[in-house]
Symmetry: C2
Subunit: 250 residues, 2 copies
C-alpha cells in the first residue's frame, strides 16, 4: 500500500510518483474532498470516501484492504508525512497486534505541502530556518502548542501555522499572534494563503499587528515572517533572506 501526498490539489503540483501510485492502485481511500481533486485519475478504481475528521477510520480501512490483497493508495492532501496520514498508519502498525497488517508493505510518496505552495506563490518567505506548528488542540495539549509558539518566537524562526482556526476553535490564532507580538514587531509581514491549487484560491499579505483572525479559516495557511522577512515595495511578494547581502563586501 502507498500513502500518497497529492499536493495542494492541482494536477501540476503532483509528482510523477504520486500519479504512478494512484494509477497502480485498485482501491483509493481518502477524504471526500481530496478524492474529488483527483478527478479523472480515479476512473476505473474503487474509491472509499470518508468525512473530514475520520482519519483513523481511513487509515484502518486502507490497512484492511491492503491486508486483503488489494492494491491500495491512501491519499492525503499536501505531503502525507506533514500533518497527513502517514504518521497515523505507522502508529497503528506499531501499537496494534494485527498479523495481517504486519505483512503489508508500505510506501510513502511525499508531496508539496500547503506551506510550500503558499511560499512559492508569495515569493520566498520560507527562505531561512522555519517551523511548522499546527494550532489544532484536538490531539495536542494547548500548553504544548503555546510552548512551541513561544520558542519559535524567541528564536526568530519563520513560522507556518497549519489548522490556524476553525468554527470550534476561534481563539487560538489571536493568542498565537499575541505571543509572537511579544517578540516581533507589529510590522512583521504575514501571509495568508487559502485553498491554493483549488477553486476559489486566494492570497493576502498583511502584518502581525493588522492580522484579523476572522479572515482565517481551516483552509488557510498562515506564514509569519521572522525579524528579517521583507515585503517587496508595491508587490504581494515576501522573502526571508539567508544573509548574502550581509556577507557581501561593501
Amino acid at each position: 500500500m502507498t500513502i500518497v501526498g497529492i499536493g495542494p490539489g492541482d494536477v501540476a503540483s503532483r509528482t510523477g510518483a504520486a500519479d504512478e501510485a494512484i494509477a497502480a492502485a485498485t482501491d483509493v481511500v481518502g477524504y471526500r474532498l481530496y478524492l474529488d481533486l483527483l478527478g479523472p485519475a480515479l476512473t476505473g478504481k474503487t474509491t472509499h470516501q470518508s468525512d473530514l475528521g475520520a482519519e483513523e477510520e481511513r487509515a484502518r480501512k486502507a490497512l484492511d484492504l491492503a491486508a486483503s490483497g488489494r492494491a491500495v493508495a491512501l491519499v492525503s492532501s499536501g505531503d502525507a508525512g506533514i500533518y497527513g496520514l502517514a504518521s497515523l498508519v505507522f502508529e497503528l502498525l506499531d501499537r496494534e497486534e494485527h498479523a495481517a497488517w504486519q505483512r503489508v508493505a508500505i510506501g510513502v510518496v511525499p508531496g508539496v505541502s500547503a506551506m510550500q505552495a503558499a511560499a512559492a506563490r508569495l515569493g520566498a518567505p520560507l527562505g531561512h530556518d522555519f517551523c511548522a506548528i499546527s494550532l489544532s488542540d484536538l490531539l495536542t495539549p494547548w500548553a504544548t502548542i503555546e510552548r512551541r509558539l513561544k520558542a519559535a518566537a524567541a528564536a526568530d524562526f519563520v513560522i507556518a501555522l497549519y489548522n490556524p482556526r476553525s468554527a470550534r476553535r476561534g481563539t487560538q490564532l489571536q493568542i498565537a499572534c499575541d505571543i509572537l507580538l511579544a517578540e516581533r514587531g507589529g510590522d512583521t509581514p504575514v501571509a495568508l494563503a487559502r485553498n491554493l491549487g483549488r477553486d476559489g484560491e486566494s492570497v493576502a499579505v498583511t502584518t502581525l499587528a493588522a492580522l484579523d483572525p476572522v479572515a482565517v479559516d481551516m483552509l488557510t495557511l498562515v506564514i509569519i515572517g521572522n525579524s528579517t522577512t521583507r515585503k517587496l515595495a508595491g508587490k504581494m511578494l515576501l522573502y526571508t533572506p539567508r544573509g548574502y547581502a550581509a556577507k557581501r563586501p561593501r
Copy 2:
C-alpha cells in the same frame, strides 16, 4: 523567469509544473550537479552551469538573461523556496536598482525538499510540529543557529538539519547534538538520509547518543526525533505520532 525546485533528483519526484517550466525555457541556469540530474529534459536548451557556492552569480545570470528577453528556468534542488535560490533572487530585486530586472515577471515552482524525501523513505518522522535549521554558518552567525537549536530542543520540535557538516565545518553537528542531548534522551531516534533520489543513495537510523558526525556530510539530511518519535521494532521506520492514541478511549 521561473525559479524551479526539481526535488531530490529523480524524475518521479518532480512535479508536473517543474517539468513544464523547464520545457518552456530557452535557457536553464543552475549548479552543474543539478543540471546533470535533469538529463534529457535539457535537450535543445542553452544551459548555464556554475559551481557550488556561486549562488549569487547564478541568480544574477538568470535575472540578466530574463531581462534580455530569454525564457529562463533557474533550478534549485529540493524546494527552491527552502534553502534554495528563490530567496536570493527576491533579495537582489529588493536591494538593487536594475530597471531591467524589475520588468522581469518571476514565478516560483515548489518541489519536494530533502527533509520530505527523507521522511517518506523513513516512515513519518515529520508527523508532528517540526523545524528546519541549517547548520551552515557561512551566511548565518553561529550564535543565531545555536539559539534556534536550543529553542527547538526545549520546545520538543522534531528537527530537520540541513547542511549538517562539510569539510570546512566539522564541529557544528556535534555541538548541535550536545545541545539536544541536554533536553532529549540519548535514545531519541535520528535518521540520516544521503543522496536520496540520486546514485548511491542511503538511509540509516541511529540515536542521538550514538550519532557519529563523521558519518555525515553536506549531502546528508539529518532528522532528529522529538520525545514521542518511535522506531518500529525490527524495521528502519520512524514515526512521530500526532496524538490519536492518547485521545482514543481505552
